[in-house]
Symmetry: C2
Amino acid sequence: MNIKTVAARAGVSVATVSRVMSGSALVKPETTAHVRRVIEELQFIPSASATTLKTGHSRNYGVILPDITNPYFAEFIREFESLLEDQRQDVLLATTERPERMENSIRRMLTSQVEGVVILIADEEFGPNYDRLTLRKIPAVTIDRLTVAPMMSDVAFDFDTGMLQAVEHLAKFGHREIAFIGGIKGLATSDRRKQAFVKGMRACKLRAKKQWLLDGLYTVDSGDAAMRALMAAEVRPTAVITVNDMTALGAMRAAHELGFSVPGDVSIVGLDDIELTRVISPALTTIQLPRRELARACVECFAHMLKHPKKPGLQRILESRLVVRRSTGPAKR
Amino acid sequence: MNIKTVAARAGVSVATVSRVMSGSALVKPETTAHVRRVIEELQFIPSASATTLKTGHSRNYGVILPDITNPYFAEFIREFESLLEDQRQDVLLATTERPERMENSIRRMLTSQVEGVVILIADEEFGPNYDRLTLRKIPAVTIDRLTVAPMMSDVAFDFDTGMLQAVEHLAKFGHREIAFIGGIKGLATSDRRKQAFVKGMRACKLRAKKQWLLDGLYTVDSGDAAMRALMAAEVRPTAVITVNDMTALGAMRAAHELGFSVPGDVSIVGLDDIELTRVISPALTTIQLPRRELARACVECFAHMLKHPKKPGLQRILESRLVVRRSTGPAKR
DNA sequence: CTCCTTAATGTAATCGTTTTCATATTGCGT
DNA sequence: ACGCAATATGAAAACGATTACATTAAGGAG
């Protein structure tokens, strides 16, 4: 079943059918109606491969991420896909747990001739993989890398605002001993979060103790381990801010298992605002990164790059803000 | 950049290049090596749309699900994608929150000419949408529907085993008053879980009280609400089994917020074994549905249907089993 | 040395659309 | 009634791969 069948059945040429499908104005209304009826009757659906081959547009966008199981990514995908759906575009998924597999993911994107790629992999160097994209003029959007080039945009978060709000919030509760469980040292997105914390502390005239600036792995287990380390020391923080919500979840689990009450004994602040923050108890106070705006910013970046292939990509900054829930409370004295 | 460029550069015909790419044996080893070098040098990547158009194979599989944010689905996708990757296939995602959008999702799958679709939507009637798939001989796999037809397979779970283990496990702890928080009434997958529970109770010589067989929505909030209802009654169950882990999480949250300890005051058993069961505290005892085997079964079903288009699809049943963690303990007397 | 088989490569048709260009039809002014 | 826009449609050439068929080269048997 193809456009020819439809044309024959409708008694018109394939060109006319094609025009009807694309909504071209050059077709007589009656013809349009008639052809539409035949299309409906035959349940005709045009072949994407033929269309793509001819037009050069695949209507596919790729997303490369380390783990779809991580709620942060899953929630992004949901928003992104919903935006694309409105534009009748599809999303192609490539999971890349380890950076070594990046080449494979990029190849899959290239063969599928995606019209853009969102790269949600943080711990990976720019390299020949990216050249392969730009070489083919495929726009890419990275997250939180702050680097921009032709056909390469970046959307980053401003952690300062949210982090300042978080520290102020804790300070208001009387907390002075605040620890930070960070992410992977050396990763831009990780270091910037830590810096934002230090900055927030300074703004509140609090000292960020060196031994309370921990590194981690963004995972529940690493949050758990870091929390145990913090609580095992002779002098313990009364509040902890974490690099992401999963880490906070781990920290909270550790606190519970060590017999500390949250927020009675320790207050905990996360970062991301994944939906899980509301399913655990106490609900997590966290610094919200707007997921929907992130997806929207990606779409904008793609539009910009497709329009101005020679110009550098966009650099968008999204605000973060504190969402207060139940995991923070007055400092124990 | 296309196959012609490569052919010209290598001084051979396009046919030879094509043969080299597909690994055909009819090419002299030296020629193969030479062409390979040129392909590498030019970073040539063949156009998927052209290949698909010509061969009729898109190397794409579709997955239609209600919400990628639900860990159960996300974990399935991860396994499924990883299996497909080995076969150099891609996954196309279509999120369908409400059944009304099913038609749209199916259309997207059809235009993309997927070679198979996994349908993870439970609350939806078979209807013209499915005819559109079978009409085009596109194999589909449904989950837990127990219906099979040509080009339609189903992989279901046997809840009986796991449920029996769960009830036995609770009974051994002295529980006699066990409630069940179910899913959406009338859904096959939901009703079968409830029946398995009742059956398990009977096998253990326990009575499943009518007022302790609740319906729900598979969500955290519905688990929360159901738990509150259970605990507000004058006579309370000492253990609760839920239709899925998200419901169990909600139940656990409600218990905590009402001041009940888990498992001190109530034991809770989930179903699914999503990764979250290990991040919350206490870690959730749950009936495990093997995610990886589910993905593998889907792949097998596709293979079968592609091989035997006329025969009815496969019906695979996967076992469930109890995984004991910390949310269950001795019954309070 | 010729004939025939086998191996290696090339030629060209094809997949299902879109789109340019050509053609047919219509309406309108004079 | 004629010519000329404007409008509606059709014919055919792409897009980039695959593959059936044709061709050439080489090797072996008689």
